[in-house]
Amino acid sequence: MRTSTRHTVRTVQALCITVTAALVATGCGRSADSGPGKDAPAKIGSGKATGKVVMWSMGDTDPALLSLAKKFEKENPGVKVQITPIPWASAHDKLTTAIAGGNTPDMSVVGSTWMAEMASMNAFQATPTAFKSSDFYAGQWDTTKYKNTAYGVPFVADTSAVYYRADLTEKAGIKGPLASDREGYIKDLKAIQATAGKQNPKLRYASGWLIGFNSWLFWVPMVWQQGGDIYDAKTKKFTFDTPEVAKALQYYASVPQQHLAPTDKEDNVQGFQDGLIAVYQEAAWAGGAFHKDSPKLDGKWKTMPVPYSKQPAGFAGGSDLAVFKGAKNSKAAWKFAQFLTEPANLAVYSKATGQLPPSPAAWSEGKLTEDETKKAFEEQLKVSKAPPAITTWQQIADAIDSELEKLSLGKATVAQVQQALQSKATSIGTGR
């Protein structure tokens, strides 16, 4: 028995060595890539859509999307749209795994910050020329880009604005929105903070402040508002060591350090509803949540554009529609994408879901600004920008989150953070 076991072990060893040697010998190695970034636009063709289109959507079954799909089916008899919802929290993993395994559907809703990464995995078809970038907000269109080629169509826009509890800010003597310049804004926050425990008995902090996970969404626009940037696409270098970034870091740290905002990562949305904070910058979905969970507060809270120092800026997020390279029915898929992004349909979808449409035409067609609280978002969309279209963006974002946290907790200085970010980002690189 012993000898046969030794024999078996030796055979296994030999096998391993052979396999390894073969791999090395075949000179397996990378060949010059000729793929993503160099794709020609897809063809959308003419005529009606036919066949089956499989689309992955994010979040729970979306009645608005389903009804739009039915409308599409009516206009294109012979086509059948199947929509499979995927939980948001795991959507990134499911998409990347499917792409890696060559197992994708026809099209999918894709989070805007994932577009570059997945496009670089050679997953998407380039956008047909029938889609015009001028139909969409510039920042939103940029989210579809990878190496200057568009790989999808904007579907849902997202950006943040400042929510404020008018009933609480009035008690601090502020009539209407807070100041739109940074110094005035801080002054107003201080005034609100002074009413904590007194005129506003339940109030604890003037403002909520995003620290930790995803705080980069909050902070990167602050750099843009200074007129600077964290990445220069032309030189392909990171620019964390610029004075504009320093100013943005100082501003970011100043609010929690002056005790105008908490640093313990509380639930700010809940706190806003409970009256524990008076001001909070958040995306459009929060308004929907306030309306649903605390209808008594309707009318008591309002929105305003984000205050800035040199120029207004915002973050362009949201989701885009992308058609996969492995799509079985790409013609119908692109047609469905075209259908969904018609201004009228975007307006319908937005009204039903409370999300923001990515095209100015949809805003006016749907008369969305009749809802006062949406006006600030429209302002922001006009000046919002997309983050750098590099495949390593999520890793860079994670590094920013971590350094920002250190800064706000007083564990690092502005200069240290700048240095750390510049070196971390340079070592992470820009990927493919």
Binding site: M1, D60, T84, P87, A89, G101, G102
Partner: protein, 295 residues
């Protein structure tokens, strides 16, 4: 349990000491009950929270200060849960997948476990080492290669892809092998002398004796597959193939927010079947572990 032998105390038993003895006999140490109940409450407090939260309206769930008994109890979370999911189909999927994986493990692992424990064959040691070795590889590492493999076999998009890769779990082999080793060899030898075929020995003699271990393995396999989330998420190509945990995540997670009410209601619903399975089989479960390599 037999009564304790009491060393003579030298004086007559009074009524009180008789009563004390009887309390000790029936209840054990009465002083333990209070701290144990305290610990029990600590252990299950989060569940009470989960249960109570599932009956609260969404806005109340994370409101502070927290209240245990809902002030405005509602079944809205449950009705929303059942409405937003194709609940019966997801429940059925979960049941089918879990039962299939459990049955497969029970059968295949006991087969190989018996071979490793009682049969003599070349490569026995290699096979056993291989099984134990893979038991120690972190599951995360093989996830993506396994997915690519399954995708290439065109098994995604069907329940088969959810079931097949997990029908052969190394832990089950380990457990069954340990258990079967404790069965007496004489039983098998006698059967052999009687002319019983090897496979018949396994089927008719050994298998019925492994009931406690099978109960243990069954609970573990069922539990593992019931709560499994990542694999069904990635392998399903369509909503019809979602299992309960995936459906639950779908119903409760938004892009930037979570619907806690639905999450908690779903958690209660997902917990119930497993709890029932455990309640039903717990005695065999404990007995099964007892006779597995604990000698």
């Amino acid at each position: 349990m037999s009564t304790f032998a009491h060393p003579g105390t030298g004086h007559a038993d009074t009524d009180r000491s008789v009563r004390r003895r009887r309390i000790r006999q029936n209840w054990g140490n009465p002083w333990l009950y209070l701290p144990l109940t305290g610990c029990l409450l600590l252990m299950i407090a989060p569940f009470l929270w989960m249960l109570s939260g599932s009956f609260k309206p969404e806005a109340d769930i994370r409101r502070l200060p927290p209240v245990l008994i809902p002030t405005a109890p509602t079944t809205a979370n449950y009705s929303q849960l059942f409405r937003s999911l194709d609940f019966t189909s997801m429940f059925a999927n979960s049941v089918i997948v879990s039962l299939a994986i459990t049955a497969g493990n029970l059968l295949f692992c006991s087969m190989l476990g018996y071979a490793l424990a009682k049969l003599d064959f070349r490569g026995r040691r290699v096979v056993f080492s291989l099984v134990i070795g893979t038991l120690m590889v972190p599951a995360l590492v093989t996830f993506v290669p396994l997915y690519v493999l399954v995708a290439n076999m065109k098994l995604t998009g069907s329940l088969v892809g959810l079931i097949l890769p997990f029908l052969a779990g190394p832990f089950g082999v380990f457990l069954m092998r340990q258990f079967i080793s404790t069965l007496p060899d004489e039983l098998i030898d006698a059967a052999r002398v009687d002319g019983c075929g090897e496979l018949a020995i396994f089927w008719r003699i050994i298998l019925p004796l492994t009931k406690p271990a099978l109960a243990t393995l069954g609970i573990i396999a069922f539990l593992g597959s019931w709560n499994s989330f990542l694999w069904p998420l990635v392998v399903a190509q369509n909503q019809d193939q979602y299992t309960l945990p995936v459906g639950l995540a779908l119903a409760s997670s938004g892009q930037s927010f979570t619907r806690y009410g639905i999450l908690l209601a779903g958690a209660v619903v997902v917990l119930l079947p497993v709890m029932l399975v455990f309640l039903r089989f717990q005695r065999q479960f404990v007995a099964g572990i007892a006779t597995t390599g604990l000698k």
